[in-house]
């Protein structure tokens, strides 16, 4: 028996901000979930199961939050599942939800991811002082900066590549009313001259810390037929993992990421990603990761990703727009960031991305990664149902 085709018929996200003090944690997830149901033309009883994701519990210090959020997500009497895969969790959460529909376990599933970073301390939660260990020398930016330097060495990318990406993504965010950062006055020159935090990563090339949530309604063929607005159809989805550190680990282009993309493309019948995919929402928390992921995902040959960025191909009016929503560089509620990528990809192929819509987008890639570049989750969605 073939899999049930999976459709995204509802998408909701919160207004993202540095601190959403106006809502509790339940209020935050509710805001996104309610919008997703409204988009799908459904109400709480129409949902059969809820799949929730977020970054580790220690971020907000609420242990097993899926239990206390069940009321807010209308989950009484229904299965609630929780997914944990560090920063990629928003993506893997959506894929777990999709698998429940594809396997015909449930017909309609609500999937939600969130982070309330203002009420947590990510820096602290991720770098607990451990006895006998030397103090960690740098936070997340410091962890990734040496890998960016390695990329620059291998590819010969010009020093301002990161600034081009940051400027592009922050300009795109101006077209996205939900984005956290709306830096109307930002210029390329301001990015280039922003403080160097972890050389080679500048301040304006790093993601913000946001409060926010994202939710999607995933449903089967019958559900899609009843939906009031056009669905996005899942054409391929995959997850891959690898250890944080091992001899031969290639941080510049991790094998788990390449394998994950290969699997998604095989499922979706993509043979030339650059040609076959119209728009990509990639998890780029530090701007240099755009060219790195372009290579890892097969959009460019190894060492050539920066040329794609420099050519303008990844701009909103380019032939492969990357992060038209403004991306993680403009909005980063950690646990939700991966799901936002997936949701934005779906919005694009539904034609519902508003001012940051890529005209005529038919196939879009959503991408998430997490941990020490070790957890990958991706999906490819299309405007047409998958061939069965």
């Amino acid at each position: 028996m073939t899999k049930e085709p999976v459709a995204v018929t509802g998408i909701g996200q919160t207004r993202h901000a540095a601190a959403r003090r106006d809502v509790s944690l339940p209020g935050l997830v509710r805001e996104a979930a309610r919008r997703a149901l409204d988009d799908a033309g459904l109400d709480w009883p129409d949902v059969e199961a809820v799949v929730l994701g977020k970054a580790p519990d220690f971020f907000e210090g609420v242990m097993t939050p899926e239990l206390c959020l069940a009321d807010a997500l209308g989950a009484t009497g229904k299965p609630v599942l929780r997914v944990h895969t560090a920063g990629s969790v928003g993506g893997s959460t959506a894929l777990v939800a999709a698998s429940l529909v594809a396997a015909r376990v449930h017909r309609t599933v609500l999937t939600v991811a969130y982070e309330k970073q203002s009420e947590s301390n990510a820096m602290w939660a991720l770098s607990l002082p451990v006895p006998f260990q030397p103090p960690l020398l740098a936070g997340a930016g410091g962890f990734f900066a040496p890998h960016v330097r390695a990329y620059i060495r291998r590819s010969g990318a010009p020093a301002d590549t990161g600034a081009l990406v940051a400027h592009k993504d922050r300009r795109n965010a101006l077209l996205n009313p939900f984005a956290h950062l709306h830096e109307h006055d930002l210029t390329l020159e301001k990015v280039r001259s922003s403080p160097m935090l972890w050389d080679p990563i500048r301040y304006s090339e790093t993601c913000p810390s946001s409060d926010g949530a994202c939710a999607m309604v995933l449903t089967d063929r019958a559900g899609a037929a009843r939906a009031p607005r056009p669905p996005a159809w899942l054409h391929g989805g995959a997850m891959r993992s690898e250890p944080t550190l091992f001899p031969g680990k290639y941080f510049v282009s991790p094998r788990a990421g390449r394998d994950c993309a290969t699997d998604v493309y095989r499922q979706a019948g993509v043979t030339d990603p650059r040609h076959d995919i119209d728009v990509a929402e990639l998890y780029v928390p530090f701007s240099w990761y755009e060219p790195m992921w372009l290579e890892n995902l097969g959009f460019a040959e190894e060492g050539q990703g920066w040329r794609l960025t420099a050519s303008g191909a990844t701009a909103l009016d380019g032939d492969l727009p990357v992060n038209p929503s403004g991306g993680v560089l403009s909005t980063n509620p950690i646990g939700a960031s991966g799901m936002l990528r997936f949701a934005e990809a779906a919005l694009q192929v539904r034609g519902l991305a508003g001012d940051h819509q890529v005209p005529g987008a038919r196939r879009a890639l959503g991408h998430a990664y997490g941990g020490g570049s070790q957890f990958f989750a991706m999906w490819l969605v299309g405007a047409e149902p998958p061939a069965t």
Partner: protein, 324 residues
């Protein structure tokens, strides 16, 4: 319950504590503000049930009670629905002496509230017991504004419906701080203990994987590629090669190192996995990939204080490109 650490393992206490903050939202904020004013509020669901403590969303239907529900005031007296004796209270619990954890259904409520009952012993506690609130002298808008419950000798009053309450107070509470604390006994395990013990003698060691022969530094007990235990201790370094690095320009809160400094990945001679360290003894803007360095200890420290240039010619790119 605590398992003994493996023989030869180091152990040390590990305490994590952090004051998390919570935005309360409209319903819990009103409830906690009420406690500050010695008023216990519940919320009435569309089906007519009174929830105490109130919830933002109806557990039965998911309806938003902030929009469709209504605050009601319940009595400061109620009935124990079940209980458990706590013979050894821990720091931060409501009472410092032994007490009963109780679920109390306050008069006018349909659900029960978890709190402490101050009673002389388990013989003095029973399901169905009448209790009342003992308010804290200083109240801030927190569940601890109820210091605890105490036995109530008065007979139960005839049932009376909970009275509607507007739920508005001057100067409402909108956030609370929830301190969290976890106490562990940390052990790094046998392999890391061997490594750390050698480090105390200022010797750098790794462990070789019996399957792939890679030397892992610092060793974690198993090869991450092959999944088999490592047992052979191998001396590595003290010289090595900087494979990549960044220059840190922002000061970390609890790190006594002046910025800028160089945080580098260092492939020690004889190792197959770069470790992380700080480079010193060279201006930060002269550090480069391929720089040859060696570990420098300060007396009495276990870990190298930093790594400094050896003066050898730089390693060629091909010598370390597989370790980036």
């Amino acid at each position: 319950m605590q398992a003994d650490p493996a023989p030869g393992s180091l152990t040390a206490p590990l305490t994590l504590s952090f004051p998390f903050t919570r935005s309360l939202g409209p319903v819990l904020g009103t409830f906690l503000t009420g406690l500050r004013e010695r008023v216990v509020l519940g919320i009435r669901t569309p089906a007519g049930r009174v929830l105490v403590p109130p919830t933002e969303y109806d557990p039965a239907t998911g309806a938003g009670l902030g929009e469709t529900g209504a605050f009601v005031e319940v009595a400061p007296t109620g009935t124990v629905t079940t209980w458990a004796w706590n013979p050894a209270p821990r720091p931060g619990q409501p009472l410092a002496h032994p007490f009963a954890w109780v679920l109390v259904r306050l008069d006018g409520a349909d659900t029960a509230l978890l709190h402490a009952l101050d009673a002389p012993g388990p013989h003095a506690v029973r399901t169905g017991q009448r209790v009342r609130i003992r308010w804290a002298a200083e109240r801030t808008g927190a569940i601890t504004d109820i210091a605890c419950f105490i036995p109530d000798p008065a007979p139960a009053a005839p049932p009376r419906p909970a009275a509607p309450h507007p739920g508005t107070f001057p100067d409402p509470v909108t956030t609370l701080t929830a301190p969290a604390r976890l106490d562990y006994t940390h052990t790094p395990g046998r392999a890391q203990s061997r490594h750390l013990t050698a480090l105390a003698r200022h010797e750098l060691t790794g462990e070789r994987c019996p399957a792939c022969a890679k030397v892992l530094v610092p060793p974690r007990g198993a090869c991450p590629t092959c999944g088999v235990a490592t047992t052979d201790v191998v001396p590595v370094g003290p010289r090595g090669t900087v494979t990549t690095f960044c220059i840190v320009n922002i000061k970390a809160k609890d790190l006594a190192i002046d910025v800028p400094y160089v945080y580098a990945h260092i492939l020690l001679d004889g190792a197959d996995l770069p470790l992380h360290g700080r480079i010193d003894g060279i201006p930060h803007d002269q550090v480069r990939m391929g720089l040859r360095v060696e570990a420098v200890w300060t007396p009495g420290t276990r870990h190298p204080a930093h790594y400094r240039p050896t003066g050898e010619p730089d390693a060629p790119y091909t010598a370390y490109e597989e370790h980036l």
